[in-house]
């Protein structure tokens, strides 16, 4: 039984099984989205739970990242007399990479875990089965509004992260250190392209929102209906969502920014 070939085969089948479950749930979610839009109040409630309640942590982190970026860049750039470019570097790194990625990691930790735990406990308490018994589709009633809510909330959080980060860099560099305000804005203005940089950052954050929300829902939905199973699913959800975000970020960056500007 335990010969290596058998184990290899078993592992391959297990990977295929997991992939298949992902695909099945994803297809069911996409199909249920149309029906979910007919009950917008469910989606609004989820945007509140996933988005509004994450604003504080996202804004606080964005501010911290903006401060630290500006401070470190200033110490390096001041040696070359290029402190005027500080705003541009902060803006590009935030809107292109750090905003979407860090907001997605925070989203996976703050909102994704609550989704996984909630769905997992519903499953453990046989609430999903009860809905099924009443001929209500749990994917349509419970999962789809959360899925849509997450996809709506995540880009907004990423935008808030970048905006707050840039404002924090402005406060630190211009108001506290004394970098020239006109150059800070004008070099940023001429170096950042609304479509290429801000637009692609927005596309990234939508993709990350989809990934993080879907992983969290899948882990909750497929969790073993025991306290231990739910806790493991929550942990796995954060790990998988974070890794998927980072890998996807690399892929998206390679696709979006592989050609130099201009």
């Amino acid at each position: 039984m335990t010969n290596p070939v058998t184990r290899l085969g078993a592992a391959t089948l297990e990977v295929l099984r997991v992939l298949g479950h992902h695909a099945t749930l994803f297809a069911a979610l996409v199909r249920a989205c149309g029906a979910a839009f007919r009950r917008p109040h469910l989606i609004v409630a989820q945007v509140h739970a996933l988005g509004n309640l994450s604003v504080l942590i996202v804004v606080a982190s964005g501010m911290a990242v903006g401060f630290v970026l500006a401070l470190q860049l200033y110490y390096t750039l001041v040696r070359y007399g290029a402190t005027d470019s500080l705003g541009l570097i902060v803006n590009l790194s935030l809107t292109r990479e750090l905003g979407p990625v860090l907001a997605a990691l925070l989203f996976a930790g703050r909102a994704g875990t609550s989704l996984t735990a909630e769905i997992g406990l519903m499953k453990a308490g046989e609430q999903l089965a009860a809905l099924d018994m009443m001929a209500l589709d749990p994917v349509e009633r419970i999962l789809a509004p959360r899925f849509i809510g997450g996809i709506i909330a995540m880009p907004i959080l990423a935008i808030l992260f970048s905006t707050v980060g840039i404002l924090a860099a402005y406060v630190l560099a211009v108001l506290l250190i004394g970098v020239d305000a006109g150059n800070f804005w004008s070099i940023m203005h001429s170096g950042v392209d609304a479509w290429r940089d801000v637009g692609n950052g927005l596309v990234k954050s939508v993709v990350f929102g989809l990934i993080c929300t879907f992983v969290a829902l899948y882990q909750g939905y497929e969790a073993e209906p025991t306290p231990k199973g739910v806790s493991e699913a929550t942990t796995r959800g954060v790990v998988v969502a974070s890794l998927a975000t980072l890998i996807m970020d690399f892929v998206l960056t390679a696709m979006m920014f592989s050609t130099p500007a201009g």
Binding site: N52, V55, I159, T163, V192
Partner: protein, 165 residues
């Protein structure tokens, strides 16, 4: 909290997101140049455009009056053809000259327009005749070294040949 309260909070959240996007697109990026309805085009040929990029600013007396629309190589002249989009409210005399300048030591390159003295203004799609190319550091250094070598004459052959490298 009632449903209305939640809806209002979500409304505030979405509004914040839109404001943030507006800030990123307008204040922190160059979306304001979008549309291009009230600009006209001038063409300038440069022997060397250096590190000039598309969307680089066009300035006159330090004030941004337009943007670089496109940079191509003219296959007949073997010069860089730079199309400039200039704000329609700004007109330049038809003997104005264009130069490629650098903002600061490490800054981006931009096009500076030196206004001329003629009464007639450039019409759309005119060519700017007098241009001055970007300063290429290598050429500057080799000029400097050549002139050093010429000044020194040829007292020691080793120093001169070392300078010409």
């Amino acid at each position: 909290m009632g449903r209305k309260g939640v809806e209002m909070l979500v409304g505030v959240f979405v509004l914040l997101g839109m404001l943030g996007l507006l800030f990123l697109a307008l204040k922190a990026a160059n979306l304001s140049g979008f549309g291009g309805g009230d600009t006209y085009t001038l063409i300038a040929y440069f022997d060397n455009i250096g590190g000039l990029k598309v969307r680089a600013p066009v300035r006159s007396a330090g004030v941004t009056v337009g943007r670089v629309a496109s940079i191509t190589l003219d296959s007949k002249r073997y010069q860089g053809a730079v199309k400039l989009e200039i704000d329609r409210s700004v007109q330049f005399p038809s003997d104005s000259s264009a130069r490629i300048l650098t903002s600061g030591l490490l800054g981006d390159q931009y096009i500076g327009i030196e206004p001329g003295a003629l009464e007639k203004n450039y019409a759309p799609n005119d060519e700017i005749r007098q241009t001055q190319s970007a300063v290429v550091l290598e050429n500057l250094i080799s000029q400097f070294l050549f002139s050093k070598a010429a000044d020194a004459g040829t007292p020691s052959a080793g120093a001169a040949s070392g300078g010409k490298k």
